[in-house]
């Protein structure tokens, strides 16, 4: 679960420490915006997302433009000002993983409150707040992408062409447990069949039901449910799901 905090509220103070505690507990949360207000960060230019290594817009300032992103940040950010028209999504871990905090256009935020620091692992600027909750956009046309976290967030593995080795199908890929599969985006024009072994075989059991493949339809994204999540070891692309092994 992610810590989720929004900057959409006005005139309220956040419970940062509580938020961090809940983050450690893995509890979904919507907390309140930072104490940073529109009057702070006076040096942040219009059209820029400004990142500071000091609190309250102090220290060294780094500016990025609308639509910018950083899947891995150095971890030095202590405050931000979003002077763009987009929403800023700020994540607790690299590759849009971990907790999420959003900063609405023209607002700022603090990542040290009451002596407790919230680490910034990555960030991106998006045109609508709902797009902060997904990382699927990293997966490009014709690619199969798997993700370490739900909803396309966290570390991503990209498959843009099939393996050609003799032990693999010429239209698929096999791999080990290092490939995450909490969620999947099938950006190809074919359906996708996943298997629990590297030889395009195997089964899953759930109660009295035995499954031989997990299907992700073409053009679709999915947060993979149990018992399939995290167990994929190979996949192939097919024109019809009847072609799954």
């Amino acid at each position: 679960m992610n810590i989720i905090r929004t900057s959409t509220r006005i005139g309220v103070r956040r419970g940062s420490l509580f938020a961090v505690l809940l983050a450690l507990l893995g509890t979904a949360l919507l907390t309140l915006p930072g104490k940073a207000d529109a009057a702070a960060f006076p040096d942040c230019p219009a059209g820029r997302f400004c990142l500071y290594d000091g609190s309250g817009g102090t220290g060294t300032r780094t500016d990025v433009t609308e639509g910018a992103k950083a899947e891995r940040d150095a971890g030095t950010i202590l405050s931000v000002k979003n002077n763009t028209r987009m929403w800023a999504c700020v994540y607790g871990r690299p590759e849009y993983g971990g907790g999420l905090q959003t900063v609405r256009p023209t607002h700022g935020d603090e990542y040290v409150v009451g002596g407790t620091r919230w680490m910034v692992g990555s960030y991106k600027l998006v045109p609508a707040r709902a797009l902060c909750f997904t990382g699927y956009e990293r997966c490009q046309d014709t690619e199969v992408c798997t993700f370490a976290e739900r909803n396309g967030r966290g570390a991503m593995t990209v498959f843009d062409k099939p393996d050609t080795g003799p032990s693999t199908h010429d239209h698929g890929n096999s791999y080990g447990p290092e490939v995450p599969s909490a969620s999947v985006f099938n950006q190809t024009g074919k359906h996708l069949c996943f298997y629990p072994t590297a030889t395009y075989q195997g089964t899953w059991r759930q109660g009295s039901t035995t499954y031989g493949a997990y299907v992700v339809l073409r053009g679709q994204s999915v947060t993979v449910p149990a018992p399939f999540a995290g167990t994929f070891r190979s996949h192939e692309l097919v024109d019809g799901t009847s072609e799954c092994q």
């Binding site: 309220v12 419970g15 709902a130 092994q245």
Partner: protein, 495 residues
Amino acid sequence: MTTPLRPALALAATLTTALALTTSTATASTTTTEPSLLAANWTQTGVPGAKDLPAGITVTNWTEKNLENRTRPRLLQVVEIDPTAAPLDLQSTVGVEGDGQAETVADQLAGVSPVASRHPLVGVNGGLFKSEPAHPKLRTTSRPVTLQHLGVSVTDGVLHSASCLGPDGKGTNGAVIQYGVPYITKLRTKLSLTPSDGSATVAFDDINRDPGRARGCARDGDDEALPEERVGGQKGVYADADEIILFTSDYKYPVPKPGLDPYVTTDDDEGYEVVLGPTGKVTAAHPGRGGGKDSTTEVYVPSGGRVLQGVGTGGTWLRDHARLGSTLTISQKLTDERFGREIPLGPSVDVVSSFHQLLRDGAVAQELRNSCGATGTGADGTPICTDSRVALGTNVRGHTVLVTLTGQPQQDNTTTHEDGAWLHAWGELLDCEELGLIDALNLDGGGSATLITATSTGSTVVSTPPTDRANGVYVHRAVADAVYAGISGYGMYKK
């Protein structure tokens, strides 16, 4: 409405309260305890069949308790879709019959998959459209009428309609459905043809509609609005005598013949017609369109191919540059006008369009006007707006939300309760902490308003009252497209 509007600050201050776990305290000086319109005038009521809803789908119903100028309470239905709680994705469809033919939402959703267990879990009607008459020479007179989309329509990356020009020339609003959520923005299309004979690229006008005659909105500056009295009382007819129109392979209606509209001369030109193979190679090219004005021949787009029709100078261009055996390269670009960026038309992209964004960044859109298509008489004799409403949005949790505002469903289809709201009042009602909406687009409403939910046992429930009358009973309208949450992944039984 007699309940005063809440100050704008109240929205921001309360947007997350209902959903938040927080130790923060609101400062009395900048927040308000004034209830929202929803809290003041509506009460949360039970959802029939709630226990049978599939995973990932939550429905909340609100019934009007302060009727003010009404005699019967309206019903607000709110569906929240959580893509992390079940293997589902947000999509749109133009129905099993393909583009160009209207179908009920129920039929469209049933056609998504032949396997009942993979039918959509919830869906509503989609974008604005205009029904079109059948050409008098079409053999099958019982064939459903065709239609024109108003604004951009896309399913699985296939563009079905050009954008509207819009009042500022920057298009009209639509929802780009991708990554499991709708993104609402102003959309513009840029369509062009490049011939293999070395001639210059030329723009083409639209997709899947009668050449020479656009409905509902101007597509470009060449489209001239015709007064209703000149076109037999039809609303929103635009004429352009020089056009090229593309027809996609999923357009399942016969391509147009000349003279579809007896009131308009710009679609009378016999014109020119070109058939393209999958690679853009011209496989047929000839004068005349759709088999000819006075012929009963029906011409369809071949599977995997496309058809181009030209009238006026558009027909001349096709004749001169789309010769048999040559190739035309078709370019279709979709632009997010709000941020000036291109949206690649990949297989994961769907778009439904409408004219009005209700909420933007957690507040009623500044430009939202107050309009109503159908009024009735309220309890005190003053007008009430009875336009049923449908919205597609996102909430503070980043989830997609579908909302309908209608009259109450009835016991049988011999009677109905049609109701809704003025457009701005609809936006104000949605602008509340209880719903926690951030962005919302007004979809097609009125008689098109339809909400369907599935149950965990595979049956479906239509929970909005039908308001179109046919053969003495009320029926749900056939519409251009639908938005739904569908199964995106599933375990396949071992063979």
